[in-house]
Amino acid sequence: MDLSNVTRYQSAVAVEAAAPPVVIKRRGYLLIWPAFLYLLAFLIVYPFGYNVYQSFFEYSMLTDTSWFAGLKNYVGLFTSPEYLNSVWVGSLIAFFCLAIETLLGLSIALVLNQNFKGKVLARILLILPLGTIPVINGYMFNILFFPNASVVDHILNILGIINGPMNWLQDPIKARIVIIAMDVWQWTSFMIIMILAGLSAIPESFYELAKLDNMSTWKTFWRITLPKIKFPLALAMLIRAMDLLKFFDGVYALTKGGPQSATETVSFYIYRIGFKAFNVGYASAGSIIVWAIIWVMSFIVISKVFAAKEKAV
């Protein structure tokens, strides 16, 4: 063999130009369609189309007739103090819930991430609120803050923080505090679980290094812990933020939106207008607006998710 005759390798395979191969397309991806169509039918296309359609009509319960109303529903909605109030109340509640849940969840998760006796038990006890039924929690918080017989009043009185009955549920501000307290009580556990998952993924060696450098606990938190759990934390907060737009059960059982719609969230408003007042056009217009908000927010969440996934690969 003459090895010295080196040429760059070329596609010199002796195959006669054959008929183009019959390429079998692999069609396994079609499996995604049943799930997709199902969601489309029951949760997206139909409800969305219906909402869009109805939002341009006015409907009368009495005569069971409806007539075209143009943008009247939207205009009405944006000038309706009730709707604007529900947006304001919803945002207010969501903001405080989110802030408190995040801070509490973070501090509790940081403690639970340490090694100590009884850690597993403490962890289970602290996520138990997730196991309760939201609407029943509403009733239980009703008892805890019952006018003139509030358990919370009693405890706060003993601790000397307040003096006398607070009548929580009669006062707009206090009622909001109770609603927030209820949500915080049930969903801080969610934050704890999510943040613990983020914390447990940080390799121990980062802390060992910080220790060898005599870094203070505070600095270690800012320089190592927080940057490393940024993603799970942000994800959990965004999920909670969107879930707070759904906030309904607790409000229903605890305050029914009262006093004077001080605790009426958007979800509750849409339900009340649609099902108690049968103002379907209004409810539909309100829904469309909420959908727009959700889509923008979920777009942010999901694109973050994709970015993180790519980073992981």
């Binding site: 692999r26 219906y50 639970l112 309760t132 009733y139 121990e204 229903y252």
Partner: protein, 280 residues
């Protein structure tokens, strides 16, 4: 590997106090629910409150059993949730397989985004359309109506989380099964299904967890006891004459038991469910 901890005594004390405080706060409403369900009816709302009941009765449990159709409610809740979870898995696992193994046009931005975004839609906004659709289909006040709706709530999470489970099964596994001479369908049933079985089981539990306490849809889409769920049963105990605390609490206690077992035993998977499989 266990890290050697050298913490100061003061810090250890602080930690105990900190945790005990939050455990107390977190458990207070739960204890109140348990206590309310067994305390004498006259002592339910009294001041000063009884932290430990002075007398107990099981009247609440007996009444919900006899008068409020608890067996129906309980059975319905279980039935609807299980069927909804199964339906979601039936549709979701193949979809998750496709999403994990195939590249197709519009996968991430179109299909997967749309599927996940439905997870965030407030049920309230779909309530009116669904009600009229169900009335037309004759699904109002039937357990199948709720099964279909709940499966829709579960489906986004099933697709996303199962996809992350299937992603963890090396492709080479089914590929080598196919090279052994088995068909693609056989590879799905003999390799993917058995290997993702723990994930499927966990997802089944998580689905039940997610829809167990659902209130709004079942409040609107069901009207009679034989088709209602526990949360609705509880809400109906709030009537013109007042609220039947004892019985609501009793439903609350019974309703919380299965779901609490799920969170205790499936904690590890809860994170995946909550984060759509992105965190493990």
């Amino acid at each position: 590997m266990q890290r050697v901890q050298r913490e100061s005594r003061a810090y250890k004390l602080f930690r105990i106090v900190f945790l005990l405080f939050f455990i107390a706060v977190f458990l207070l409403p739960i204890w109140w629910m348990i206590k309310t369900s067994i305390i004498l009816r006259v002592d339910t709302v009294v001041y000063p409150p009884q932290y430990i009941p002075k007398g107990i009765e099981f009247d609440g449990y007996i009444r919900i059993w006899k008068d409020q159709g608890l067996p129906f409610l309980y059975f319905n809740t279980i039935r609807i949730n299980i069927l909804a979870a199964l339906l979601a898995l039936l549709l979701g696992v193949p979809a998750a397989y496709a999403a994990s193994r195939y590249d197709f046009w519009g996968k991430e931005g179109g299909f997967m985004f749309t599927i996940l975004s439905t997870r965030f839609l407030p049920p309230a906004t779909a309530l009116v359309p669904l009600y009229f659709l169900y009335r037309w289909l004759g699904l109002v006040d039937s357990i199948w109506g709720l099964v279909i709706a709940y499966a829709g709530l579960n489906l986004p999470i099933v697709v996303w989380v199962m996809r992350s489970f299937i992603d963890e099964i090396p492709r080479a596994m089914e590929e080598s099964y196919m090279l052994d001479g088995h068909s693609r369908v056989a590879a799905f049933f003999k390799i993917i299904m058995p290997l993702s079985a723990p994930g499927i089981a966990a997802m089944f539990m998580i689905c039940n967890f997610l829809t167990w306490g659902e209130f709004l849809l079942s409040a609107v889409l069901t009207t009679t006891v034989p088709h209602q769920t526990l949360p609705i049963g509880a809400a109906q105990l709030e009537g013109d004459i007042g609220i039947l605390w004892q019985q609501i609490a009793a439903i609350g206690v019974l309703g919380a038991i299965p779901i609490t077992l799920i969170i205790v035993f499936f904690q590890r998977y809860l994170v995946r469910g909550f984060s759509f499989g992105i965190l493990k």
